[in-house]
């Protein structure tokens, strides 16, 4: 699933990747993102909070504007020109997502509000049908709250047990412990593909192989992976894969649940309403086919179209080229930031993507964030919606710089200078 393996420190890249990257002109690419042109606090904006949300290229902004200026209508029901056109655009976006994930069928692509809603959907439909008292749901110790709480709600309701596979001090999943936690009581495994707090790329291939030996379906939370890695939901064979549009240069309020047709077909609907039915009487309702069974009500049409434009933009640049650029940037940031006295990196897995979490002496991350902000540098500080990860490392919070395709080495240099400034203030 991860075609561009990231190993830190830097390794020589294969020739074909280097060639692909010869055309990756980050300074030219930055011009596609209008927000990056502005100055904040009288400084050039250095946006390093991409794991929270990414900025949007002009093509995405234009696609949303064009939809409202030209195509807006409700979909799947009108006989008129605009409705037909809006439906085509919306379904076109679904096919773009399908091809981006290499899903076998467009019906396996369900539009939702984001990764969070996708996980809740699976927990409330697949989970409520298949998880019973005494059963177990298996997650890892590096999940975002969105891949913890929906399962806790389910387990509490059903009298089931949430099991958590531990991670190492470097932030890697302990696969032997994970394997030991799988068993006849395990009804679903839910794991992140890339940790939002640590940057760890998890071994989803191995995880899926192990779980499938027990016939346990696996949900992969790809919110932090899709912006950085080439994803193929058929290799390895994911049962569910979820992501949010806004982290991959698309709009907020739109995301994707991929699920295998056989699983989705067998699941009860999540929400009832219009569009998810094929016929309704007061006695009985027949649900619509996939994917519409899971898309009750008027969906976020503009969002889906914006997401489609974002994925086409990413495809245009090439996921391999993006991965190679970001890999190099993360290696450079890891090298330069860790050279600063007093720095402790949180998350030092061999395979990482996009995230550099750190502590500086005993300075609280909030103070680091405020001082960097005065330099125009945006990072995230706090628990990153992964409080159990913070607890695992015995800390209350961390500072996190996270990278996107448009970040540069100069911006990493600015981060390093900013951290030096923090040290001066607290000297």
């Amino acid at each position: 699933m991860t075609t561009a393996a990231r190993r830190l420190p830097r390794e020589p890249r294969p020739a074909e990747v280097r060639d692909a990257n010869a055309e990756f002109d980050v300074h030219k690419i930055r011009r596609d993102f209008p927000i990056l042109r502005q100055r904040v606090r009288d400084r050039t904006l250095v946006y390093l909070d991409n794991a929270a949300t990414s900025q949007k290229p002009q093509v995405v902004i234009d696609a949303i504007c064009r939809y409202y200026e030209r195509d807006n209508a409700n979909i799947h029901r009108g006989v008129h020109f605009l409705s037909e056109h809006a439906t085509e655009e919306y379904e076109g976006a679904r096919r773009t997502v399908q091809s981006f994930l290499n899903a076998a069928d467009a019906g396996e692509i369900i539009f939702v509000r984001g990764a969070t809603e996708a996980i809740n959907l699976v927990a409330q439909t697949y989970g409520r049908t298949n998880v019973h008292a005494g059963d177990e749901v298996l997650i890892t110790a590096m999940e975002h709250h969105s891949n913890i709480v929906p399962w806790q709600i389910l387990c509490e309701e059903k009298g089931a047990r949430l099991r958590v596979a531990p991670i190492s001090d470097s932030g890697e999943l302990l696969l032997a412990d994970f394997a030991n936690l799988l068993g006849p009581r395990t009804k679903i495994v839910a794991v992140t593909h890339v940790s939002n707090a640590l940057g760890t790329i998890t071994p989803v291939q191995r995880i899926i192989e192990m779980a499938h030996r027990w016939n346990i379906p696996v949900l992969v939370d790809g919110a932090q992976a899709v912006p950085h890695l080439k994803v193929d939901v058929q290799a390895p064979e994911c049962d569910f894969y979820v992501f949010s549009g806004h982290k991959v240069y698309g709009p907020t309020g739109i995301g994707v649940l991929y699920g295998k047709s056989a699983l989705l077909d067998a699941m009860p609907p999540y929400q009832g309403g219009g569009d998810m039915i094929s016929s309704v009487t007061f006695e009985k309702t027949i649900y619509n086919k996939l994917p519409y069974k899971f898309e009750a009500g008027t969906p976020h049409v503009a969002g889906a179209i914006g997401l489609g434009a974002a994925l086409e933009y990413v495809n245009g640049l090439g996921t391999d080229s993006i991965a190679a650029h970001e890999h190099e940037l993360l290696a450079y940031a890891t090298e330069t930031v860790s050279a600063i006295p007093g720095i402790r990196l949180i998350g030092t897995a061999k395979e990482k993507a996009g995230v550099l979490s750190f502590l500086l002496d005993s300075i609280h991350p909030h103070d680091i964030g405020t001082i960097l902000d005065q330099e125009g540098i945006a990072i995230r500080t706090g628990h990153h919606c992964a409080q159990p990860v913070m607890q695992r490392f015995g800390i209350a919070a961390a500072a996190r710089a996270s990278f996107a395709l448009y970040n540069t080495r100069e911006e990493v240099d600015a981060l390093v200078e900013g951290i030096q400034k923090v040290r001066e203030v607290f000297a």
Binding site: P365, H366, T370, Q387, A396
Partner: protein
């Protein structure tokens, strides 16, 4: 542009590194916990109330430089004060950090707490500066539950 030195004044940095009255209070008859769920700052304030006055006060917990220094200076400021005096001080402190305090107004009552005037230029940090005070307020009310800045 707000000046970082206005926010991170020497007194604040010094108190954050070596907070005063930083301990559990064995004689405490009131206590409360304060929590900022956004950043994870977490403090416990211990009070030894004798009648209406604060005979002894201490705190423990973790947080940023602003929240910790604020808790430390707060314990120094309210020790020996009555409930009403502490409440009045909180009110003035709150006005100071939210920029509602007249620039050339009389801040003498605030004493050392005036070092937090720079916070008003950093609105997202107001919660840091006031967390300990909200916790003190809860302790004075005799509330047992955790107070939250949210």
């Amino acid at each position: 542009m707000p000046d970082l030195r206005e926010l991170y004044q020497e007194v604040i940095l010094e108190h954050s590194k070596a907070p005063r009255n930083y301990r559990e209070l064995a004689t405490a008859n009131h206590r409360a916990e304060g929590y900022n769920p956004l950043c994870g700052d977490h403090f416990t304030v211990y009070l030894d109330l004798e009648g209406d006055s604060i005979r002894e006060i201490s705190f423990q917990g973790s947080g940023c430089a602003i929240s910790k220094a604020s808790a430390s200076l707060m314990t120094q400021s309210v020790k020996g004060k009555t409930r009403a005096e502490a409440a009045r001080l909180f009110d003035q402190f709150h006005k100071l950090v939210t920029g509602q305090s007249p620039a050339n107004g009389n801040r003498s009552e605030l004493g050392k707490l005036a070092v937090f005037s720079g916070v008003s230029e950093f609105p997202v940090r107001v919660k840091c500066a006031t967390l300990a005070w909200h916790t003190l307020h809860a302790a004075l009310q005799g509330k047992q539950q955790t107070v939250s800045t949210e």
